[in-house]
Amino acid sequence: MSRFSHARALLTGSGLATLALLSSLNTARADSAVLARGEYLARASDCEACHTAPGGVPFAGGRAFNVPGMGVLYSSNITPDPKHGIGKWTDEEFTRSVREGISPGWKHLYPAMPYPAYARMSPAEVKDLRAWLATVPKSANTPPANRLRFPFSIRAIMIGWNLLNGPRSSYPDDPSKSAEWNRGRTLVEGPGHCADCHSPRTLTSGLSTSRAFAGNTINGLRAYNITPDRTSGIGGWTDEALAQYLATGHADGHGTASADMAEVITYSLRHLTPGDIRAMVTYLRDLKPVASDDAPAPSRVIVSNNGTVPQNTRGGRLFVSACAGCHLADGSGRQTPYANIAGARSLSANDGHNLIRIIMDGSSLTTRDGSTHAMPGFAGGGYSRKDLTDITSFVMTHFTEATPSEAALNKAMDAK
């Protein structure tokens, strides 16, 4: 029996709970259903992750986005505070902002806010979302001002951008496809805005359609190829593994979501119903396979050798002292399957770029039952750069057939 059977049980359980909640609200108060739908959409749209500063008040904004070539953007305060938040906005203003990127006063939003994707939601859905958002605690937080390079410092430039790359709109179901596929398309292309991270950008920073979902570098990390390509995409995953990964952030043999993807799980995907997760899987499976040049190296089968790690390299020594407390010598995870790193793509892909960043900065994932599984970051103290590259090289060569390069790892350390 899979170690995840209990997680699956929970998953089904919470799906039922959502249904039960919806029906009971229906009978209680009419607008409870609206709120429940709004909350579900807000989760599916991952609003909280971006509109919350690290360690800050939820939805009060202030999280920094480093947009290469453009500057630093800060997310806005979307709590119902009338002065610092969006309490005074009308529903129409809100909808326009979310779907078209135009805030009250004709302020054109920058596309760190994925309004082209959100445009896939209908105005009615966005209104529901707004209704729920109006119930979160107010905050008087004022996010820092954006620091943008010319010409991006002129918001009106976005008018031109929008003409090129701009808002799409909600689309009718494709009758040739299943209802599940259509639901999946809505979630992936719309609120889920998966392409915003996983599709390469065009010269004008629009999303590439020809290489859609074939991987991209964002926030200093690699968002991997999620097309069904067998070697560089998710073609080798089973449906079950993919669903499990999206719902829980982990699938044995594929590792655990980290960094930004861990946030997507934490704030968004873990709240979705099993049906919606299945729908997303169905749609992703049907994408056009696109090969990319970042296929991971094959994993090695670790013979656990009674839990011994060779101690003849510095990386090996550091691994058993700093890492094996969670990951175990054979990488199978000590106290929780979330620490099972076997088969994780980061161990071998992109010259260890994501791996060393996560070792440096750490990662945190909240699972379905609300438990948080965190990995601390190891940069900024007693572990030197050399220590960190040595650990990374060890992990890559011990668990996979990758051939890490010191230069690439050093470059990744300086990225961001």
Binding site: V57, V320, P376, G381, G382, Y383
Partner: protein, 723 residues
């Protein structure tokens, strides 16, 4: 043997509590720094203004209990103190029970490697005095002469074969006058002292039954966790009380009067912790938000110029240096260091209108009581401090600010409140071993021998805050002399200078040997540099300098022999030596290392020769040296507290790195010298040796020297890369 009897109830009427009905209660003054060590001993009901703090209790049922104020924090002190008393009393170790004494007898301080040094004589005298009256009582009963009686294993025997247990005569003995100068055994008569004895606290610790401060369970207690201002001097600006109270299991949010810390209280730690996360405290950070690590180092380097105190000098060292054949200077720099004892900071307090109980691990029980009295407004007699096992002291528990903090929170609630700091709080709100910059200059003759030495220390005077009267009237902290002025060397001329600079934005404190670790890294590194300049082997160079100091010479020769100093090394290995006289003990250390790559250090073997006078429990001395060395290596290689915008950057063991088993030396050989001198300290001796021995070995391996700690800091490594 009961080792696990933290005293629990408030103590009222010392004699009643300690003795109950019948038997002998012999009180003595546990000698402590600053008090006369020979203050003698009195029975409890004496009228003298004397507050005893240690007791030998023998009850008619023949139970022998030692009630000692000293705190066990790993150094094996329970065992060695008991050995001293038992030796003279004439009982076996397994006949003794232990209790922690209530505070009340002077400044109870466990620190500065002082314990055995100060206890050595008085505890043996206490044991001997008790034995004397017990024998007299028995002899009286038999109508015999005391000289015709012998004592063994708590039993008094007469030549005729008659026997009585201690318990049987305890009540009689209590009525006899104590001898003025009890007869002590000669070293040749020792049955216990100098023979390895197993630690008396092993069993409870191995079985997980030892009660540390953090383990105290008082009926009805709640558990709180704390966020203090991350910048010293900051105050609370805002927090979300409602969000914290909404966390299941959270029962209260408490703020100190000064608004410098907030505590979330819950049914258990996790509830409190989650509550604190939800609370989102924000701070007015104040002035110190400007402080960075560089601010601290800049002001220290600045202190190398300009005026300084001269606490001691011999001859006109600067003039001699100026006239010497050559002179040579070097500047050394050392960082702020956290303690990170394995047991995070914690304290439990129950404040009631009529009294207050405090349960905690502390090296300063009296200060704990005084602070509780001050904060509650209760008289000192109404405060009971219950000392618990300490999960690592290293000087951290010489501070009592966490006790103050706990009582401030606890007085706001009716239940016993245990506060437990997260490791992040423990590291970022520690009181740090200070950062220092030292400049040493030597005048040298043609052969490269020292003609005169000047040494300027720039840094804080820890004692000025911790015990102000101990600061000399010129403003000098004498702790800084350890390893600096107090060395095995006798320079022809010497001048010590101290430029006091208190680091902004942090509070500095004792650490496992502040003066000793700081001083030795500088002096022993510098001596090695001088040997190198003179083209003389570092051991030979030191031999010449200590040729008139037999104890120093003996440890140096012994370590050279045991470490095979003059034997060839395998390819890629190097050795470094350090010699010291600190905390009353001599030690010489050789570290044998390998540097397979630049900046990769493997410590293969450490050899030490130690002369700490007469040894009470030899294997525990060895254990302290082993542990002290590893503590010191850990700091020397990895440790530096850094500040950014007033915040401490290292938070937990992911960034505050501690040496692990696979990095520790595979072999540490400690050789104890035969000695009839009075015992010296041992707890900090190994720590002080670690950095210089290692730095000297690394200099030998790399051909150049790091004068800045930690040895593997980015600062040093970048210099390395630039070469």
């Amino acid at each position: 043997m009961t080792q696990n009897a933290p005293n629990r109830g408030p103590h009222t009427g010392r004699r009643g509590l300690l003795l109950g009905g019948g038997g002998l209660l012999l009180a003595t003054l546990w000698p402590v720094k600053g008090l006369r060590a020979d203050a003698g001993m009195l029975v409890e009901d004496s009228t003298a203004p004397f507050a005893p703090n240690a007791y030998i209790r023998i009850t008619p049922d023949n139970r022998i209990t030692l009630i000692l104020p000293n705190i066990e924090m790993g150094q094996g002190i329970y065992t060695s103190s008991v050995m001293l008393i038992a030796e003279e009393l004439g009982v076996d170790l397994n006949q003794i029970e232990m209790e922690a004494a209530p505070p009340g007898g002077g400044a109870e301080i466990t620190g500065g490697s002082m314990s055995i040094m100060t206890e050595w004589k008085p505890l043996r005298e206490a044991g001997a005095a008790a034995r004397t009256v017990l024998v007299q009582a028995a002899a009286k009963r038999w109508n015999a002469k005391p000289e015709s009686c012998t004592v063994e294993s708590g039993t008094i025997r007469h030549l005729s074969g008659l026997r009585l247990t201690f318990g049987a005569v305890a009540s009689d003995a209590a009525k006899l006058p104590l001898p003025k100068e009890p007869q002590l055994k000669s070293a040749a008569q020792y049955r216990l002292i100098g023979k390895p004895q197993h630690r008396l606290d092993s069993v409870v610790k191995v079985e997980g039954r030892a009660v540390f401060g953090i383990d105290v369970q008082i009926p009805g207690q709640k558990i709180g966790t704390v966020a203090a201002s991350p910048v010293i001097g900051g105050t609370l600006k805002d927090f979300n009380r409602d969000a914290a109270m909404a966390v299941p299991g959270v029962v209260a949010v408490l703020v100190t009067d000064a608004k410098d810390a907030v505590c979330v209280v819950g049914d258990h730690y996790w509830a409190a912790h989650k509550g604190l996360m939800a609370l989102h405290p924000e701070w007015n950070e104040g002035e110190n938000a400007k402080v960075t690590t560089q601010t601290v180092y800049d002001q220290l380097h600045d202190g190398l110029k300009g005026p300084a105190i001269v606490p001691t000098s011999k001859g006109d060292a600067p003039a001699i240096i100026a006239k010497s054949h050559a002179h040579y200077s070097a500047v050394y720099q050392q960082p702020l260091l956290a303690h990170s004892t394995m047991e995070p900071i914690n304290c439990t307090a129950h404040v009631r209108p009529d009294g207050c109980d405090v349960w905690t691990g502390t090296q300063v029980a009296d200060r704990a009581r005084d602070t509780a009295a001050e904060i509650t407004g209760l008289p000192k007699e109404k405060i009971a401090v219950h000392s618990q096992y300490i999960g690592g002291g290293f000087g951290r528990r010489l501070e009592h600010e966490y006790i103050t903090q706990c009582v401030q929170f606890a007085k706001q609630v009716p239940y016993p409140l245990k506060i437990v700091w997260s490791r992040e709080e423990d590291i970022t709100r520690d009181r740090y071993r200070p950062a220092y910059v030292d400049e040493v200059t030597a005048g040298l003759d043609e052969k490269g021998h020292v003609t005169a030495m000047t040494h300027r220390v720039v840094g804080p005077a820890v004692v000025a805050r911790w015990d102000p009267p101990e600061l000399t009237k010129e403003g000098y902290d004498e702790d800084l002399s350890v390893g600096t002025l107090i060395t095995p060397y006798n320079y022809p001329a010497y001048r010590l200078e101290f430029a006091r600079r208190e680091a902004p934005g942090v509070i500095t404190a004792w650490w496992r040997g502040v003066g000793g670790t700081r001083g030795l890294f500088v002096v022993e590194g510098f001596i090695d540099e001088l040997a190198g300049r003179a083209g003389v082997d570092p051991v030979a160079y030191r031999r010449e300098m200590v040729k008139d100091n037999p104890r120093a010479l003996a440890v140096l020769d012994r370590v050279a022999k045991e470490a095979g100093w003059n034997t060839p090394l395998p390819q890629g290995r190097a050795r470094g030596v350090a010699l010291q006289f600190a905390f009353g003990s001599y030690m010489a250390t050789v570290a044998e290392i390998e540097m397979p790559e630049n900046n990769v250090v493997i410590i293969h073997r450490v050899t030490a020769a130690v002369d700490c006078g007469q040894v009470v429990n030899p294997d525990q001395v060895i254990s302290q040296i082993e542990g002290g060395l590893i503590f010191g290596f850990s700091a020397a290689l990895y440790s530096e507290i850094t500040l950014k915008d007033g915040w401490v950057e290292q938070k937990n063991f992911n960034t505050w790195r501690v040496m692990r088993m696979n990095e520790a030396p595979r072999r540490i050989d400690v050789h104890l010298m035969e000695s009839s001198e009075d015992p010296g300290g041992i707890g900090e001796v190994g720590t002080a040796a670690a950095a210089p021995a290692l730095a000297n070995a690394m200099a030998a391996a790399q051909g150049h020297r790091y004068r800045t700690l930690p040895l593997l800091s980015p600062r040093n490594l970048e210099k390395e890369a630039a070469k």
